[in-house]
Symmetry: C2
Subunit: 338 residues, 2 copies
């Protein structure tokens, strides 16, 4: 096993010098630096996380979580994953603070981020896809704050890591599932969250992409519900009334409960086959009622856990993430394997 001490011995220098070279602290002559660097590469030096963790305890590293999670049950599981990870790492001196907000107000998220900036070593955030937020997060990174985006990503931002699911593939998978259930010919109604939200659009795109293989699939309409249950109920009711021949209803985002209630208003034999995302309690309730038969599952617990894992590994063990994008599969789940 190769350690700094061993490298120092082999190069005829002290361990302190090896530390300076390997951690780029300067104040080392070029030739010794070269020798040490060479030796380290030769022997495949990897810092020992246990040693790092032990030494890092003085820092009391702090992760700030900033989530637009209030009123969105999906994030309950994400938060549970984060909290279990945080507990696991508490012994290493890691602290995690949670800051939640409701909805997607850019100014509010910016304010929240700014308020944690001064004292955070890492930030885990589900960012609103706005240039102003991207710019702010880039400032975080310049000031050496580790940035993880969770559940949804943001453009033009140098965040070290994204943890989430593949939205486009979610749409593709939903469409493929409809084909299996409904056959080659189907009439599809869609209720999406918002066309302002990247992930929702990507799911729609994925769905349409997969539909290119299905010339007899028809989308009759795409309604927006703004992730609001009442709006969802109303637009779904309208959708089902305007197009009584819909046999597949695709719920792209939130508002599953409201949409399902609208479906329940129909006589059982007229109800479309419904595919939705995420197994939040209200959706599970509707699965028990039989209105929602299939959901696509995004591994929310693992998303939360992994995002803290990555920040922890960086802050405490000094390990940078192996992949910049940690994307979990969309899983198809029925009531039976929830």
């Amino acid at each position: 096993m190769v350690t700094m001490k061993k490298i120092g011995e082999l190069c005829g220098v002290s361990r302190g010098t090896v530390d300076r070279v390997l951690n780029g602290r300067g104040r080392v002559s070029p030739q010794t630096e070269a020798a040490i660097l060479n030796m380290a590469k030769q022997l495949g030096y990897e810092p020992n996380p246990a040693g790092k963790a032990l030494a890092a305890r003085k820092h009391k590293p702090l992760i700030s979580v900033v989530l637009s999670s209030e009123g969105n049950a999906f994030f309950d599981e994400v938060l549970r994953g984060m909290k279990e990870a945080a507990e696991e790492y508490e012994i290493y001196g890691l602290e995690v603070r949670y800051h939640t907000m409701k909805g997607y107000n850019v100014d509010q998220q910016i304010e929240l981020l700014k308020s944690v900036k001064a004292y955070s070593n890492a930030v885990v955030v589900n960012p609103i896809d706005s240039p102003r937020i991207a710019e702010l997060l880039n400032q975080f990174i310049e000031e050496n704050i580790f940035v993880v985006t969770v559940n949804n990503d943001i453009k033009n931002c140098n965040r070290q890591c994204f943890v989430g699911s593949d939205y486009f593939n979610g749409g593709v998978t939903a469409c493929a599932m409809f084909e299996i259930v409904l056959g080659k010919k189907a009439t599809i109604g869609i209720v999406t969250g918002s066309n302002q939200i990247l992930g929702h659009l990507e799911r729609l795109e994925g769905f349409k992409k997969r539909m290119e293989q299905l010339p007899e699939f028809k989308i009759v309409d795409v309604m927006e519900n703004e992730d609001d249950e009442i709006t969802s109920y109303n637009v779904t009711q309208k959708l089902l009334k305007n197009y009584p021949d819909i046999d597949g209803l695709f719920l792209v985002a939130g508002g599953v409960y409201g949409a399902s209630r609208a479906v329940l208003d129909l006589p059982e034999e007229n109800r479309p086959f419904v595919i939705a995302f995420d197994s939040v309690p209200t959706t599970v309730e509707m699965m028990h009622k039989g209105t929602v038969k299939v959901i696509l599952y995004q591994h929310p617990y693992r998303q939360g856990h992994r995002s803290i894992d990555l920040a922890f590994e960086y802050l405490v063990n000094g390990r940078s993430p192996a992949k910049a994008e940690h994307v979990f599969k969309n899983e198809i789940r029925l009531l039976e394997n929830l």
Copy 2:
């Protein structure tokens, strides 16, 4: 943060004494022992894994993996998960050795296990469900070797931990999926691996259990293929010939490729809907050909990774597994979300 040192100070003894008490090494007077134990509980002492890991490096802990994996592509992913975990923990001085065999010969597995017994600190094994093997593994445990069963469990054995999937639920889920695709009425043919293998039987039981909700579902026959592709081809061919009205074919275990080839022999419009387990390359090939539409996925990579994780946590960090059974969900996957 509460450490041994702090406990020692508060109790007016040295950390050495605290260590002796907390690790039950004896040679401590009853009253100091009681005081220290009390103080530790009071403060909620948890050993620091980093400290333990650092100190444990001298031990060079060794995990022996014993798998009936040869010729079974499912275990390729399990092994990949194990190897990535092993690499991750290499820096802590952990060593993992792999011992594979073909098929389920009890004597052979016993011989393999006995051969690693002398030098292993932990064993990860997919045990054959035999009393003789259970007995041997119990000996391991008595000699303080940590035992993890992976993928399938064994009865009458005190193994610390099982990592795998829920076989019964796999059957339930498969049946529910057939209902979604075929409706309330269906004629099902089943090809299982072996009635000698517990997991295969449990899947069948789960399937039948779920069928109790479906009075118009009929199982016409259950054939065994012994997980052999050629046998699988032959029995499936016979099954499909004897019962040309089969509209659902349930492949409980291995031999998916052979069975699919038999399905391919039918004209396309006569082919049943096929549900199988695991996304091994030959099965994926058949999914591309369209014979297998749906698979149930057992998270093999995670099974492998987790089993090493647990042994590592025990050996290096001294953490016993939080749960005795680590069961991953059966996931429904199509070609689109493989």
